[in-house]
Symmetry: C2
Subunit: 340 residues, 2 copies
């Protein structure tokens, strides 16, 4: 039976996910947006023939039991934003799949929000899950790449992404083109093993990965800072040029030490690329016989969409409540066997 989805958020990822789901034969019966594309047909919005689904303002949304199997949220990165329409969906029995980076492994980050969502989802016998690139690549692929070794001392991940592919609004905030000193949010913080965590995409990845391979909760250190240009770099958003030593991106570095003494390092670099640079994901595994896993090229945006679309089929049978990707089997391509 064809799965029936409703959609929240029609930015780059939302539109791409809508195309992917339609190609998989999933029915999309509703689409909601804050302002953009309201009143347009979803098919037209994603560059295809009309499908008879008009984009409605999100303020008009009302969750009703049975209206969909899965509600897909491609809205913001904030976990607590799920307390709105997403929680209403779950309470009405509609499973929720979100690409919010902070929904990947949220119990250690915002436990009260997590508990409210969990209870609502259990009342509705529905599942709330955060997924995306981090699910397929950083947790499951990386976790499976530990299966060959019995002597693991260190995992060091490196995710190298093209800033120009993010939306302009994401990039402006981070001081693109400004002098290094002006980077608005540079900071270093730590969190003990039993402490709640600061907002951090990579921090949640490391917490999830530790859980996945059965390690205890780690002590974490977070660093967020600017990446500066080595040479003159074109700014694709403004057409200006950015001078050397001025900001062309950001990096987040999270370091974890588990109670078992295993070290994890996650580095997320997002910057304007120089000629010849491409996105990649690399992970080095330390131990008696160290090795590296490398994905080239990587596709930050497309893989976020791909992981989302390939998770939809897992939702109807997933356990009720707020779960994480660690609770589910490894994701896989579903283009043929998946939801139809």
């Amino acid at each position: 039976m064809a799965l029936n989805c409703i959609f929240f958020g029609l930015g780059v990822v939302g539109q791409d996910a809508a195309r992917g789901l339609l190609d998989y034969g999933v029915t999309i019966s509703g689409a909601y947006s804050r302002t953009s594309h309201v009143g347009e047909d979803l098919g037209t919005v994603i560059g295809r023939a009309p499908i008879g689904v008009n984009v409605e303002p999100v303020t008009a949304f009302e969750a009703r039991p049975g209206m969909a199997d899965v509600a897909i949220f491609c809205t913001t990165n904030a976990f607590d934003e799920l307390l709105g329409d997403a929680m209403a969906c779950a309470e009405a029995g509609i499973n929720v799949l979100s690409i919010a980076g902070n929904a990947l492994y949220p119990w250690t980050f915002q436990p009260e929000v997590a508990e409210r969502l969990d209870k609502a989802a259990k009342r509705g016998n529905a599942t709330i899950l955060g997924c995306g690139y981090q699910d397929g690549v950083m947790v499951h692929l990386t976790g499976t790449a530990t299966s060959m070794t019995t002597d693991l001392t260190r995992i060091e991940m490196d995710c190298f992404s093209d800033f120009s592919r993010l939306g302009e609004s994401s990039t402006e905030r981070l001081g693109l083109g400004m002098a290094r000193e002006a980077f608005p949010v540079e900071e270093s913080v730590s969190a003990a093993a039993d402490a709640t965590r600061p907002a951090s995409t990579m921090g949640q990845v490391l917490d999830a990965l530790c859980d996945y391979i059965g390690l205890g909760r780690a002590e974490l250190s977070y660093y967020l800072g600017p990446v500066v240009a080595e040479a003159v770099t074109p700014n694709p958003f403004t057409g200006d040029e950015i001078a050397p030593r001025h900001i062309i991106g950001m990096e987040e570095v999270v370091t974890a030490t588990t109670p078992e003494g295993i070290e994890l390092v996650g580095r997320l670099t997002a910057k304007l690329f120089a000629a010849g640079e491409t996105e990649y994901y690399a992970c080095r595994f330390g131990g008696a016989a160290p090795y590296e896993l490398r994905l080239t090229p990587a596709y930050g945006l497309e893989w976020t969409t791909g992981c989302l679309v390939n998770r939809v089929a897992d939702m109807p049978a997933a356990p009720a409540g707020l779960i994480t990707v660690v609770d589910l089997p490894a994701p896989r391509f579903r283009g043929v066997a998946g939801p139809r």
Copy 2:
């Protein structure tokens, strides 16, 4: 509770696996060998302190219910060899874990043998599973690396291995040092989607991978042939030199086309390495946004052991019968959370 294992086969992989399991805190209560090391203490055999387990001749083995949780077979590559002691173990309720390459996905290869083993295992409420490098790397890691894409047209695997690390007996058979024409088993065969398969490590990998990602049974073509030297190559087994155009290894190439039109290619190269060559595993994924996964260096032997040791913890809860790695969750490092 500590898992209790018995061991069959004390070649390179068997010895390495015994070390790995002891390091994981698994109890080894028996070890059986055709001839080598009979009468020695297993601890001594693996280069450690004695552990009070004498290696017994395999002819003396008698399966008794409750004697172990898992029997580990590091003996031959042949699936039907499991009809002996392995089947007796399963029938007595002892789970069987084998590194036989042809036990990875055997239902399409020797269905009658598979059925006999399956029935025996079900009578004993035990599990029989083939695992190894192919499990962790070629099925689960490769399968998980499809999770990012919704447009997959082709998977092309390349496993590049150092022949000198295999046992001498494996290599002699393949005509090392002989002229190209003398390669004893060069052949090309095909198997329709509904046909039983010839013996082929890579063929079973492709069948397993298709199953894992939900593709139908493919039509397969198999090629097995020699790899010849480009320059003078030392033969580490004999100390001789092998002249150019003479055999330094073998390659197996299996090509599959699924009913959905997806192409899979598996290439297994095992040869004497020139200076600077290292083992690797690479896999290219075709589609609208193609990418490559690469593991460098790879460790053929160590990873076979590692995948075996990391699977032991899955055995007690695995479903009864002859199963495959496709029926189990993705494997992962168990050094800390695993069997103790």
